[in-house]
């Protein structure tokens, strides 16, 4: 009798669970309710839900450099100039035009009748206010550090004098931290509210810490066409597998950073798609040039390692083939990139140098982070160098720890080899200044070469584009084939998973992907 009651209890529980599941189905279908309609009567999904891996923390563009925050800010705020992700050219976003009078004197004209979310019209006072505010913010200050003078000509025209010539100043203005804010909003609202006011096609609506951010379309916007989607929600789902399942179940429309193991599911499943684009992150194997007892201080050894690495094999191991072999230190989509041959894979040539240097039986330490692609790169490098009798001891650590170790004092850090990456900004100087120049903050190899420093400085100041191209070519060839502070391995493919019908998602090589025009046909 009691057993029957127990069984009845279990059955009741399962009925309850089934009912709950049924309710779930109902709410899911309601997500797909049609929203806006296009000019041709096409129906678009009302809300697009984007699953992000990391937490959104702030809408203030000057308080962050995290891509997750910048992706949301890109929907709500605009820059003076930005990279057109279709043409990859630096173009005016809020600027109608600009002119470099001399490398230290620039004139600008704003687009007319651009409306902020608070209803005010963009003018030069807003630009001046934004640049002044940036100067007080540690995260943004370095972008405006060279501004000597800002002169308002009229409501739309202004000029800027720099303390030193910068032929790429238009690229500097494309820094996400310099998103233009409304001066009037700061005068009439609390700062926490005023920072939400931008000119983008999306208005900041709601932020639930650790859960989601919601944006609604800017109905009165003048800079962009009114989006067909009514609501854009960024949900935070840290687990890659959970993001994938949420996409498959229709809980979300787009997922960021799908796991490489899910690429085939995304490409082969009906109703799903994998959006890909070559990223602007250079992954490399580097050498500490200040570790005196380390054989890697010998350029011949570095050349041998460069010849010994089969990059294609490493790409298959680390990214399942979703990456492009790098032959130059410079990233592919950058201005002044030269398609040089680099150091081709040459096992015999490598063996010859290793033999000459007596490397057989040698043990070398390598440090890298615990990110899965770096772990796979390190394991692959271990097996590749083992063929030449070189044993690689790999130590994995967290990214922050690795960065601190590799940027610390090279003579005492104990680092021999490392695996790291560099995602440069939009101009060519950014590619070399930080990771190569002796004054660079990310000079992980601790290269101190006055000739290279002088060449980087000269290229940055050169106005003649042909001469500049020659200088960058020389830099690429010397660094990739002769000096080799690090060996460029690959630029990985950036991926986004999306449901069928999702369009308008643009992958940013620097990871600040664009969802401004994201919509989904139903």
């Amino acid at each position: 009798m009691k057993s029957k009651k127990f069984v009845a209890l279990l059955m009741a529980a399962s009925v309850l669970a089934t009912t709950a599941v049924g309710c779930g189905n109902g709410s899911q279908s309601s997500q797909s309710s049609p929203g806006g309609s296009g000019a041709t009567g096409t129906q678009y999904k009302e809300e697009i839900i984007i699953a992000m891996a990391d937490e959104f923390t702030t809408i203030d563009p000057m308080e962050t450099t995290a891509e997750t925050n910048q992706i949301v800010q890109d929907c709500t705020h605009d820059l003076l100039t930005d990279t057109n992700l279709t043409t990859m050219q630096n173009e005016g976003e809020l600027l109608e035009s600009w002119e470099m009078v001399t490398p230290d004197h620039w004139t600008f004209k704003l687009k007319e009748n651009v409306t902020f979310h608070d209803g005010t019209i963009l003018n030069t006072d807003d630009v001046e206010f934004t640049l002044q505010r940036a100067a007080e913010k540690p995260t943004a200050a370095n972008y405006v550090a060279d501004i000597k003078e800002f002169n308002k000509i009229d409501d739309l025209n202004f000029e800027i004098y720099l303390t030193k010539g910068n032929v790429d100043f238009n690229y500097t203005l494309a820094a996400n931290s310099l998103a233009i804010l409304s001066k009037e909003a700061f005068e009439t609202m609390e700062e926490s509210e005023a920072v939400k006011i931008g000119t983008g096609p999306w208005v900041f609506d709601e932020f639930v810490s650790g859960d989601h951010v919601t944006l609604t379309r800017f109905e009165e916007g003048t800079l962009y066409p009114i989006p067909n989607t009514k609501k854009l929600t960024f949900r935070m789902i840290p687990e890659a597998s959970a993001r994938m399942i949420a996409l498959e179940n229709g809980e979300v429309d787009v997922i960021m950073s799908p796991s490489a193991t899910d690429y085939s599911r995304l490409t082969e499943s009906d109703g799903l798609q994998l959006i890909t684009e070559t990223g602007r992150t250079q992954h490399f194997v580097g050498f500490n040039l200040q570790n005196e007892g380390f054989i890697g201080t010998n350029p011949e050894f570095r050349l041998a390692v460069s010849k010994a690495i089969n990059k294609e094999e490493m790409i298959i191991a680390a990214w399942d083939g979703y990456a492009q072999v790098s032959t130059s230190m410079m990233c592919r989509d950058m201005e002044y990139y030269a398609d040089i041959e680099g150091v081709p894979y040459d096992p015999e040539g490598a063996q010859e140098i290793f033999d000459r240097l007596g490397c057989n039986g040698m043990t070398i330490d390598l440090v890298t982070s615990d990110a899965s692609h770096r772990v796979k790169m390190a394991e692959n490098l271990q097996s590749q160098l083992q063929k030449y009798g070189i044993t690689l001891n790999v130590e994995y650590m967290q990214q922050a720890a690795l960065t601190e170790l590799c940027t610390g004092d090279g003579t005492t850090s104990g680092v021999e080899m490392y695996i790291l990456s560099w995602t440069p900004g939009k101009n060519a100087d950014y590619m070399f200044r930080n990771p190569i120049h002796s004054s660079g903050g990310r000079n992980y190899s601790h290269l101190e070469d006055p000739d290279i420093d002088a060449l980087i400085d000269a290229a940055a100041a050169e106005v003649d584009t042909e001469k500049r191209a020659e200088m960058y070519l020389e830099l690429q060839e010397r660094l990739t084939c002769e000096i080799i502070p690090w060996i460029p391995i690959a630029q990985n493919t950036l991926t986004i998973g999306a449901a069928e019908g999702v369009t308008g998602v643009l992958i940013h090589p620097g990871l600040v992907h664009q969802f401004k025009f994201c919509e989904r046909l139903i």
Binding site: D211, P238, E239, A242, E251
Partner: protein, 307 residues
Amino acid sequence: MFRYIIKRILMMIPVLIAVSFVVYFLMDLAPGDIISSMAPQDATEAELEMMREQWGLNGPLIERYFRYLGDLLTGDMGMSPSLRRPVAEVFIERLPATLQLALAATVVALIISVPLGIAAATHHRSFLDGISMVLAMIGVSMPAFWLGLLLIMWFSPLGLPSGGSGTPLHLVLPALALGAGQAGTLTRITRSSMLDVIRQDYLRTARAKGVSEKQVIRKHALKNALIPIITVFGSTLGNLLGGAVAIETVFSWPGIGRLTVNAVNQRDTTLATGCIIMFTVLLTVTMLLVDIAYAYVDPRIKAQYSK
């Protein structure tokens, strides 16, 4: 009893100071700092120093720690550099989600474990007993995050949300994943505790007097079996909060567990220390409440406190 409660609350002070000291120093010993990850890639040393000063992370470790402790004594838990908000504000904002999850998991655990444990004890060495123990063993052995992923794979295609928060349905899968481990432990302890009690003479007497079996179990056996169950329940609450860290990540649950993990990963010492101190307070208070519950269940303990 009142004196005992005051004594326990006062004992929390050295515990909290010790916890803050250990966490603050361990976070500092770990390589990497939040400022270098927050700053632009091309930030100069001067700019980094400016940011350290802005977030109160400049100066020697001891000085920073005592500055932190001094602020803590005045109720100021500091500003989190990673979130750019006061730690107390973020903690209070995220706490309800974790409490909600812990409460739901506890309800799940109790709903499963108490009837199952009683059924196993009253049907000792039967098929039902065997099944109960197998299920309990699975619950105890299976890592919560793994069960969480399985539940997502099994149930989210049927319509249950795979993550996030907002509706009661969002709570179903994380509560099941988190409650399963606790249910396993409690089922085993309920069963063994009940087995001890139902063999007692006074229950035989009750049955001889004609009291129904239901009454014997519910009124006489269960109440006496409760003390060890409460003891174990109290100790599993710590595991529950610990498990919430993994479950909140798997189910994208916006609670303090995930907040703490992110803080540690990002080397946000202020936030991590604040969260762990608050976790300690939460756990100590819960343990105190469990101790107080003993007194209500067992009059002998209450009498002991009265002395």
